[in-house]
Amino acid sequence: MAVGVACVVMTMACARHDVRQAVPDVPLPDISRAATDVQAQLREQHAVMTRVVEQPSSSPAERAAAYGDMGKLFVATELYEAAERCFANARQLAPGDMRWPYYLAHVARLANDPARAAGFFEQTLALQPDHVPSLVWLAEMRLAQSRPADAKPLLLKAQSLAPREAAALYGLGRVALEEHDFAGAVRQLEAALALVPSASRVQYPLAMAYRGLGNPQQAEAHLRLRGEADLPPADGLMGEIGGLLKNAAAYETRGGQAIDDKRWPDAVRELRQAIAVAPNNGFTRLNLGTALYMTGDANGALEQYQAAVRLRPDLAKAHFAIGVLKETAGDDAAALDAFGAAVRADPASSEAQLSLADALRRTGRVEESLPHYADVLRANPSASQASFGYAMGLVRLKRYAEARDRLAEAARAYPDQPGFAHALARLLASAPDDHVRDGPRALTIMNELLKTQNTLSSAETMAMVFAEVGEWDRAVAWQRQTIDAARQAKQPALVARLAANLRLYQQKKPCRIPWADDDPVHRPGAK
């Protein structure tokens, strides 16, 4: 009997030993290039896995789970070959568990092998036919294989099981596009957006669907809303992997992704964790500042930007961000300091140069602003804001001929920006320099502009033009109308200025001050 029991025990032990030996080992791959804390995390997980799989009392399900946890961490660190070995072992140990073929499918997908991925998704569905994420992902693989007809029934089934699964609608919309069923594509994609309005990636295929229907206006409307926020299926299993890594780079990556998707609170959370792990990373502080600003926390943002420049004095973007915040708060002196620091840190930064130039011009340091506008235009000849700023700086410095030439060139270069033509017309009508004024040319420009531009400013300019060409009655009439409109708009300062010019026109005298020194056009960005 004892011998019999011993034999049974030996047999059981051998069987357990056979199960353990039936799956191949999964050694730790070369992780020497990974970050130190990631190496530690991988080693620790591998040690846990090893302990479990070598434990004689571990059940197959426990071993499978151990391999599965290791595999998930390998996926997070993009060690896909090792991940595949883990999940293959898990599947062998627990063949009825749909998680393992599901993760194998994603490993193949991430390794850019949609055919293999599709095979594993099919195996997953064989175990759990109503697993909606598998249906949607399998459909994605079929689309990637250029098999929209095979994708469609999968997505329809997913939709029937989960009517609010927007990713299924998104997929159906793309199938319809492939089939040139533009009306169907519009229906499906609009439905997807109705469920997840923030999924801006959907806007582009929707625009193409409207284009296919011959509706370019709707197409353009949706093109304007396009963005990078994707619409994957709700996927708890893959979601487990997303948050596995605890190192600074992973938090930073997740934070950056959240910023790209405009998920500001998520970005703040991830980036705060990144800083908790690596507090001396200036770039992370900069990104956190941006995320905080977008959540409306300007003070918190400023704190992070200031920390960023303490850590990295060469971080031009952080200096620039401080400048923007100070400018918004009306602190011109601090804004100037910050923009100046940004330009010193990165002289090629056009945004810093432009902001510095505007701030200098706003605070009366016009001569100093010109080289910065010039730098912006050298880097980007189409920087219209710099072009305008430079021209108005010249006006302020009473270099009217140069200003005229710049405005004329800009008006040709930016025909869709009427501000240049308008400014040119005002200068031609009222510059103190006789050699610059050209009333008839100003009249031609304004007659054209007023077809589409009907503002207080353009009306004021038109009165100047009439005065310059000697049409005093019309100048007076226009000026009176403009004063009435300014009163209705409750702009007393403007009313006073207009009234002064009205008196000139009534005396048959033209205006010779195109813009007062305190005119908003000379104070860009003023609060």
Binding site: P29, D30, I31, R33, A34, A35, T36, D37, V38, L42, A76, T77, E78, L79, Y80, E81, A111, N112, D113, P114, L143, A144, Q145, S146, P148, R174, L177, E178, R201, V202, Q203, Y204, P205, A207, M208, R211, P216, A219, E220, L223, R226, E228, D230, L245, N247, A249, A250, T253, F283, D346, A348, S349, A379, N380, P381, S382, E409, R412, A413
Partner: protein, 557 residues
């Protein structure tokens, strides 16, 4: 529009085991690109470089210009085997024996050419800027002013960079010569990439924290430049006035063609990770970016993709130019099919090209008829821009290499991945970047020269088209300039095919400007209608097959 070619494949199928054979070493092309890497993962390391095929000495065969890198950071090699790092010009000394055998041999003539290429080279564009019939060279750079070299016609070149006004200092990759105002003089479009310095290099890591190359998102893009030819060896920067600087991204590929069929050249710019631009010529010196509504700014998914190499060609022979754009691993090469009016459908999946290329990062590419069956096929050279983990695990010293890919046009808008049948040269795993397409041995089929990053040049001599007939055209204007941009409609035994003379496209490279048309099994003479870049149209009848014929503007009907 005339009917497209709808016949099935004609003529003999490729017989030899290797459709392309690498003859670089045999032919004396001993160039090896050095990317200057030093372990710091500087971005320029993985971006260059390009190659040009052009007949600089006007002896009827294609010479080769190869662009070289430079050391980046401490520890990078300053020479290769003691030879200084410099661009190279190789003269093609092709010899055709009495029995028709072609002997390819290249001679390094860099020293005597007078070409003093400075800085870290990126790409090359070729065009005859002064209509003297001799192609000139424009070199793009990472960290130095771009250079323009005038071909003196005696085997030497003179640098006219500064005087010409085209010596942009911004990081440039692809450039294209194109007569945007149809005044008979080639203007120049230069794609600018990123605002980047070695000192400002960001430290980027993979999710595991391992160091890796950054993506272009880490830096600011730069606006491109359009230079108008003033006809006197100088160019005027019309970037602002033309409005092409109003929308820009990190430009890597540039291809020019008349995409909307109005007779005026347009410009397509492939931007890395940002929306591409389609600059439609408004015929008044300005351009409008219509890429979004035209359907070529983004693929159908709406996700901005990498977009490196690009070519325009008529894949379905319906008389308009379609686009192929190579992309990053995981994205798949994009194919945009033109409806003739400049409105495109994303047919990447339907053609089969997208799905088959998903695992690869593509650069140089072109529409080219490799088997002379009359339909345009596609080749792309590949190589990743971020570390491939499996290669890193295998301790590969440069773990970004991938194999090339070749697609055969089956007709009906479908393509077949025939890489496995193309031969040993396609089994190599390398870091492909520039690729120039042309008939290097003048035997009537198209060869490919591949510029590998940090590796040897490959001269893939075509053996796949043996037995099939072809038509070769050199389209020239007064003065003998290659009339790039000219479109041809070739009718052969009732079958109509459409091609375009072009040197631009691919990636950072310059192609053979001659027009090559595969004719399959038909050796009948062809009628050729040429739409010249200036707008004039002429017909040339009875153009013989299986030879190169020069058609000069003004001599047709």
């Amino acid at each position: 529009m005339s009917a497209g070619a709808s016949a099935k494949a004609e003529g003999p199928q490729p017989r030899t085991a290797d459709w392309f054979v690498d003859r670089a070493a045999d032919a004396g092309l001993d160039f090896v690109h050095v990317n200057g890497m030093s372990g710091q993962f500087y971005m320029p390391e993985v971006i260059g470089s390009g190659v040009a095929l052009f007949d600089y000495d006007q002896d009827g065969d294609l010479d080769v210009y190869l662009v070289q890198g430079q050391p980046l950071g401490p520890g990078a090699p300053a020479s290769r085997g003691g030879t200084p790092l410099t661009d190279r010009l190789y003269r093609n000394d092709l010899r055709v024996e009495a029995d028709g055998t072609r002997r390819l041999h290249f001679t390094d003539v860099t020293a005597q050419s007078g070409i003093d290429a400075r800085g870290y080279g990126m790409g090359v564009a070729v065009g005859d800027i002064d209509n003297d019939g001799r192609p000139d060279l424009y070199l793009t750079k990472f960290d130095a002013p771009n250079q323009l070299f005038h071909n003196n016609g005696d085997g030497t070149f003179t640098e006219i960079s500064k005087r010409s006004g085209t010596d942009s200092r911004s990081w440039s990759v692809s450039a294209a010569f194109v007569d945007v105002d149809r005044d008979g003089w080639l203007d120049l479009y230069v794609g600018h990439y990123l605002r980047y310095t070695l000192e400002g290099n960001s430290r980027c890591v993979s999710p595991s924290g391992a160091p890796d190359y950054c993506t272009p998102d880490s830096y600011q893009p730069l606006p491109d430049r359009l230079y108008r030819n003033r006809h006197d060896g100088t160019f005027e920067d019309v970037s602002a006035r033309s409005q092409i600087a109003r929308a820009f991204g990190p430009a890597l590929g540039v291809a020019t063609a008349d995409f909307n069929g109005d007779g005026w050249p347009d410009i397509y710019v492939a931007n890395d990770g940002k929306e591409n631009q389609l600059w439609i010529n408004r015929r008044d010196g300005t351009f409008e970016n219509r890429a979004l509504l035209a359907g070529v700014a983004l693929p159908l998914t709406g996700k901005a993709e990498a977009s490196m190499g690009v070519d325009a060609g008529d894949l379905d022979d319906d008389g308009d130019d379609d686009l192929v754009v190579t992309e990053l691993t995981g994205e798949g090469t994009n194919v945009f099919v033109n409806d003739g009016a400049g409105v495109f459908e994303d047919d990447s999946a339907r053609t089969g090209i997208g799905p088959a290329s998903t695992g690869l990062t593509g650069f140089g590419t072109a529409w080219f008829d490799y088997d002379n069956d009359g339909r345009l096929d596609v080749l792309a050279v590949n190589g990743a821009v971020q570390v491939i983990e499996a290669l890193r695990q295998a301790r590969d010293p440069f773990p970004v290499h991938q194999r090339r890919i070749l697609f055969h046009n089956l007709g009906g808008g479908r393509f077949d991945d025939v890489t496995a049948r193309a031969g040993a040269a396609f089994a190599l795993s390398e870091v492909g970047r520039g690729a120039a397409f042309g008939d290097i041995d003048n035997d009537g089929d198209l060869d490919v020269i591949v510029a590998n990053n940090n590796g040897p040049v490959r001269l893939l001599v075509n053996q796949a088209a043996a037995g099939a007939h072809w038509l070769g055209l050199r389209l020239v204007g007064a003065g003998g300039r290659d009339q790039v941009g000219a479109r041809v409609r070739v009718t052969t035994a009732g079958i109509v095919r459409h091609r375009r003379a072009r040197a631009d496209g691919s990636y950072a490279s310059a192609n053979d400007p001659r027009v090559h048309v595969g004719l399959g099994g038909s050796a009948a003479p062809s009628d050729v209608v040429v739409q010249w870049p200036g707008g004039r149209s002429e017909t040339f009848t009875g153009v013989a097959a299986d030879r190169y014929t020069t058609l000069t503007e003004g001599t047709g009907r």
